[in-house]
C-alpha cells in the first residue's frame, strides 16, 4: 500500500490511510527522505490518524524519519495519534522520545511554522523571514 506524499508550501505531508506492513513503512521512509532533498522542503508531517495500532517497528521508523529528515534539513512532526494508541504505546514503552507529536494536521502545520520561524531567526537573525 503506497502512502501518498503531498506537498503543501514548504512542507511534505504523508498521510497514512491504513495499516502498513514493515516493507510499506520502510518504503515510506525512503520515499520521504528522498523527497525532502528533492523538493527542498523545511518540514515533514506524518499523519497517523487512521492507525489504530502502532508497533515497535512503526515507532522506530517514525523516529528514524525524524532524525534522517533533520539531517536533510527538515523538521518532522507526527500528528493524529489516537488516545487509545497513545496509551498502549506508553505501556509498551514506545514513547517516541525526541520526536515532536501534536494533536492533528492543523496543529502540525502551526508547529512547523513556529519551528521554521525560530530556526530562521536562529541561523540568520538579521534577515526577516519570508513567512508568517
Amino acid at each position: 500500500m503506497e502512502v501518498p506524499i503531498l506537498r503543501q508550501g514548504q512542507y511534505l505531508i504523508a498521510s497514512i490511510q491504513s495499516a502498513l506492513t514493515d516493507a510499506d513503512l520502510s518504503h515510506l521512509r525512503e520515499a520521504l527522505i528522498a523527497q525532502v532533498g528533492r523538493s527542498r522542503c523545511r518540514g515533514v508531517i506524518v499523519d497517523v490518524t487512521a492507525l489504530d495500532v502502532m508497533d515497535s517497528f512503526a515507532v522506530r521508523t517514525l523516529r528514524d524519519i525524524t532524525h534522517m529528515a533533520r539531517l536533510r534539513g527538515a523538521e518532522t512532526v507526527i500528528v493524529g495519534i489516537q488516545p487509545d494508541v497513545a496509551f498502549a504505546m506508553v505501556q509498551l514503552g514506545l514513547t517516541l522520545k525526541g520526536v515532536a507529536t501534536v494533536l492533528d494536521l492543523e496543529e502540525g502545520l502551526a508547529f512547523l511554522d513556529g519551528r521554521t520561524k525560530e530556526r530562521t531567526l536562529e541561523v540568520k537573525p538579521r534577515r526577516p523571514s519570508g513567512r508568517g
Binding site: E75, A86, M89, E118
Partner: protein
C-alpha cells in the same frame, strides 16, 4: 405448571396428597399455621415488645416497629403456609429499601427475625408442653421453614445494602475524575483521594479523550488531594504524561506533597521527564506562559536560548 401446583397442594392440603409422611408433616404445618393465626395479636405484640426490650431498630418509633412487625408476621405465616418465599423476598427487599436509609444495621434485621422465631417457638412449647412427642414433630416441620425464612430476610437485606454500595461506588467513581477547561487549550485535572490501578487507568483515558476533544495544549495535573503514592501509581503518572505528549499536550504536575516527594525519590521512581511545579497556582502560571508563546513549547527538539523566542 400443573406439577408445581400439585406439589404446593401436597404441602398445604394433606387430604389431596399421596399420603404417608408428607401428609402428616403437612398436617402439622397446617395446625401450626392455624395456631399462629389464632394468636396473631398476642404473639405480634409479644414480638414487638421484645424488639423494644432488646433495643433493636432504635432508629424507628414504636408505632413503626409495630406496623412493620405486623407486616413481617403476616408474611412469615404466609411463607410457612405456602412454602413459597417469593412474596417474602419481595417484601424484605421493599422493607430494606425503606429502612436502610434510616441507618438500620444488618445485625438488627437478623436479630428481629431470630426474635420472631424464638417468640413463635416458645408459644409452641407452651401449647404442646403436655405432649412432648407431638411438640418434637411440630418443631421438625417448623424449624427448617423458620430457618429458611430468617435466611431469606437476612440475605434480602444484605443484597439490598450491597446494591446501594455498588451504586454509590459507581457514582463516586464518575464524580472523582473531572477534567476542567480553565481557558482555551488549558485543562486542569485535580486528583483527590486514593488512586488504585483501576482509577488511574480511568483517569488517563478520560484525560486523553479530553485533550483531544478540547484540543488542549497544556494540562495541569494537581495531586494536592492525594495522600500517598506508590511506585505503581507514580509510573502510571509518568505514562500519562508521555501519552499526553504523544497527543501534543504538555503536562505539568503540581501539588506533590512532601511525603510523596520523599517516597518517590526514596523508592527511585524516575520523574526527571516530568515538569513539576509546587502548587496549582504556580502550575497555571507556568501553563499560561507556555500558551503565551504562540510558538510551540520547547519539546526537547533543539535547545534555544529564551531570547530568540518572539
Amino acid at each position: 405448571m400443573a406439577d408445581t401446583k400439585k406439589s404446593t397442594s401436597v404441602t398445604t392440603r394433606p387430604a389431596e396428597g399421596p399420603g404417608g409422611l408428607s401428609e402428616s408433616s403437612a398436617g402439622l404445618l397446617r395446625e401450626l399455621v392455624a395456631h399462629l393465626r389464632q394468636n396473631r395479636t398476642q404473639l405480634r405484640e409479644e414480638w414487638a415488645r421484645r424488639i423494644t426490650r432488646a433495643e433493636l431498630l432504635t432508629a424507628m418509633t414504636e408505632e413503626e416497629i409495630f406496623a412493620e412487625a405486623t407486616a413481617v408476621y403476616d408474611n412469615y405465616v404466609e411463607a410457612l403456609e405456602t412454602g413459597t418465599f417469593e412474596a417474602l423476598q419481595a417484601y424484605s427487599r421493599r422493607l430494606s429499601e425503606r429502612i436502610i436509609p434510616r441507618g438500620v444495621e444488618t445485625d438488627e434485621v437478623v436479630g428481629i427475625v431470630l426474635l420472631l422465631r424464638d417468640v413463635l417457638a416458645r408459644s409452641l412449647f407452651n401449647k404442646y408442653q403436655d405432649n412432648v412427642e407431638k411438640l418434637n414433630r411440630i418443631l421438625d416441620s417448623y424449624e427448617p421453614a423458620a430457618n429458611r425464612i430468617a435466611n431469606t430476610v437476612a440475605v434480602g437485606f444484605v443484597e439490598e445494602r450491597e446494591r446501594i454500595i455498588r451504586q454509590q461506588q459507581e457514582a463516586i467513581r464518575e464524580l472523582s475524575t473531572p477534567v476542567l477547561q480553565v481557558r482555551e487549550r488549558l485543562l486542569i485535572l485535580p486528583i483527590i483521594g486514593v488512586i488504585d490501578p483501576q482509577r488511574a487507568r480511568q483517569l488517563t483515558e478520560q484525560l486523553l479523550r479530553a485533550i483531544r476533544a478540547n484540543r488542549a495544549k497544556v494540562v495541569v495535573i494537581d495531586v494536592t488531594g492525594v495522600a500517598a503514592m506508590d511506585s505503581g501509581v507514580a509510573n502510571h503518572l509518568v505514562q500519562t504524561v508521555e501519552a499526553s505528549r504523544l497527543l501534543g499536550a504538555t503536562v505539568i504536575v503540581t501539588g506533590l506533597s512532601p511525603e510523596i516527594a520523599q517516597t518517590l525519590v526514596t523508592i527511585g521512581v524516575d520523574l526527571s521527564e516530568m515538569a513539576t511545579v509546587g502548587d496549582l497556582q504556580g502550575g497555571i502560571e507556568e501553563a499560561e506562559r507556555l500558551l503565551a508563546d504562540r510558538a510551540p513549547p520547547a519539546l526537547q527538539l533543539r535547545e534555544l536560548p529564551p531570547e530568540t523566542n518572539r
